[in-house]
Point group: C2
Chain length 347, copies 2
DNA sequence: AGCTTGTGCTCAATCGTTTGAGCGGCTACG
DNA sequence: CGTAGCCGCTCAAACGATTGAGCACAAGCT
């Protein structure tokens, strides 16, 4: 009954068993050519027998690398509807990391001033070899400093003001164009309103710009109302719109959560969605599929983005130099048509 | 422009700057009483100046502890509706961990045979000092071995067959009683059906037992149909029930996801929920609030459970011995009444 | 015989931090 | 005056894994 000290199997223990030096055992386990076959198999047998697992601190210290990467949790993930997004990211990142024998550490991205740089400490302590950061705020000094300081970072999102950063994102502007055009072309809507995210977020800016541009191109009326990405802000906007139901026939909402907020309010106010008003959302992280009516939305491939980001980070850590013109990877998005625009149920 | 080697500030560098030995610097930073005040402040200034952060591998190696804990991701979290649950857990765990200067490592819990014990390797490698594991399957050999081997583990859920394990869970049986009684007492339902989870999961068993017991106590008709916790299995059950609409007037469904599946199918089949049939779900991880009608459900306090689990794990790692009779912590649940049972909208 | 080449291992140093032991100089006390 | 004790520091060893250098021996070649 060796309940305690279970984890204390070291190279030395193996060495004692097989009668070799610690170094020989280490080399044997790595299949080094200078170690004899017979010794190797004896070492392997003993290692197996004792349940040896290399101590990660010892290895990390010697190798000067942690074999781990940090995933920085944005503060927005604390919100229920941010959950799905973050879990898609987490899934993608851990998959790739694990395929490469790499651990994933979760670090929080404080928006509170307290502990402002917790994740920077994590990086500087050598706990991780690099980090995947998803920050939305358009000027995040922490991110900027992180990138400048040469720490290995891959950003999730679009960061036009940080040309040197490696990032993986989607073309939100094109995505917004796609959504807006759908309302105009497929549903004949001519009087649109865009409920944007907070305009200090790049994503919010890009989605708004795509909307405005498309309206201008098509000669359609387009108004922008700023929200904050929360369901509640959608409700507030919705209430304001109840009196003005004659003034618009389509809504392009910058995320599904707000779209849900607006939609519920309009429905409760007796407005028929989608007959009277078409709604398109953004993200497709889960919510939009389960509402009634379900919400037509632009699918953002969060897991694929995360996988690519993790892959790029591992490449960078491994020494790959990414050419300047490839710094920003952009993945395609697609429109998922459901009921809220008038397209009818999606299979 | 010191883009590279940014992370290489070591005790030695500080020692060189202030003209002390490495040991003195180390002790100064820990505010050791044997180091003079003047030296301490010089050391602190230099550390600040150089941006020193202690190397975690070096520290871990010396201290024989990692300063990190693992959160084992159950395979079910890969599913969209598992996301919210897991994020609640993640939030709770990271909060507590960070408050205690502890990192959180994500490790996957494979249900695939491949890499069966990835998280056990993580523990044995000393990457973490303990793990929080949430496994549902009623006999998971890995968990059992983990617990027996003396590795520090706190389980999320109820594990009656592992009396020695430390766990944090809810009383699913009482919860199920609560839900069932609500349909009987508040809504006068007399012919109930329970859609259970897969019955090799303890949670599924407990929720079923609570249902069956309550029906017996109240002299109400109660039938059990086994599902698998997926929305799809809810749909399948729902289809089967369309022909038998006269035979029952209430559904107690073992999670919200299945409840949503059943409910959509019944609604699509022309059955009026909640007028004709009352539905109660389980979990309240997000979904139940946004459907139409919204789903009355039993709220499971995932984040609180996670916080407590993390706290207990840190205690154990710190050397606290938890008395046998306190091994299993059980948190209270509450019924959240919404529309699907007939109670009307929740504010 | 003398030299090279190769094989199979050991030695010793290293990564960065921590800590018990030790040491020189000082004060205080008997 | 001798010594006990404290102060403020340094020394050295340890945690566990890795790796270049080196060593003993054997075989092969000239």
């Amino acid at each position: 009954m060796l309940t305690r000290d279970t984890q204390r199997v070291t190279l030395r223990d193996i060495a004692n068993v097989v009668g070799l030096s610690v170094s020989a055992v280490s080399m044997a386990l790595q299949d080094h050519p200078r170690i004899g076959e017979e010794a190797k198999s004896r070492v392997r047998a003993a290692a197996d027998d004792l349940g040896y697992v290399a101590n990660s601190a010892g290895r990390a210290l010697r190798a000067r690398k942690a074999g781990a990467l940090a995933l920085v949790v944005p503060n927005t993930s604390r919100h229920v509807f941010g959950h799905s997004y973050f879990m898609h990211v987490l899934t993608g990142v851990t998959d790739v990391a694990n395929e490469n024998d790499c651990q994933v550490i979760i670090s929080t991205n404080p928006d509170d001033n307290h502990d402002r740089v917790a994740y920077e400490r994590v990086m500087r302590s050598g706990s991780v070899d690099g980090a995947i950061v998803t920050s939305a705020s358009v000027h995040d000094d922490n991110i900027e400093r992180l990138v400048r300081s040469g720490l290995r970072v891959v950003l999730l999102g679009r960061f036009p003001y940080l040309p040197d950063a490696i990032s993986v994102g989607v073309d939100d502007r094109a995505a917004s164009k796609l959504a807006t055009e759908h309302l105009i072309d497929s549903h004949g809507r001519r009087s649109l309103i865009h409920v944007s995210g907070p305009l200090d977020h790049q994503t919010a800016i890009d989605r708004r710009d795509g909307f405005v541009e498309t309206c201008a191109e098509r000669g359609v009326r387009g108004i922008v109302i700023e929200g904050d990405f929360s369901e509640e802000s959608g409700r507030v906007v919705g209430s304001g719109l109840l009196d003005r139901r004659a003034e618009f026939d389509g809504l392009v909402v910058a995320n599904d959560e707000m779209a849900f907020g607006v939609m519920s309010t309009l429905l409760a106010g007796g407005i028929d969605v989608p007959r009277e008003i078409s709604i398109v959302g953004f993200d497709d992280f889960g919510l939009s599929r389960v509402t009634t009516p379900s919400i037509t939305t632009v699918h953002v491939p969060a897991e694929r983005m995360a996988r690519l980001a993790a892959q790029r980070l591992l490449d960078i850590v491994g020494g790959t130099v990414i050419p300047k013109q490839e710094a920003h990877a952009v993945l395609p998005v697609e429109l998922v048509t459901r009921e809220s625009c008038g397209c009818g149920a999606h299979p």
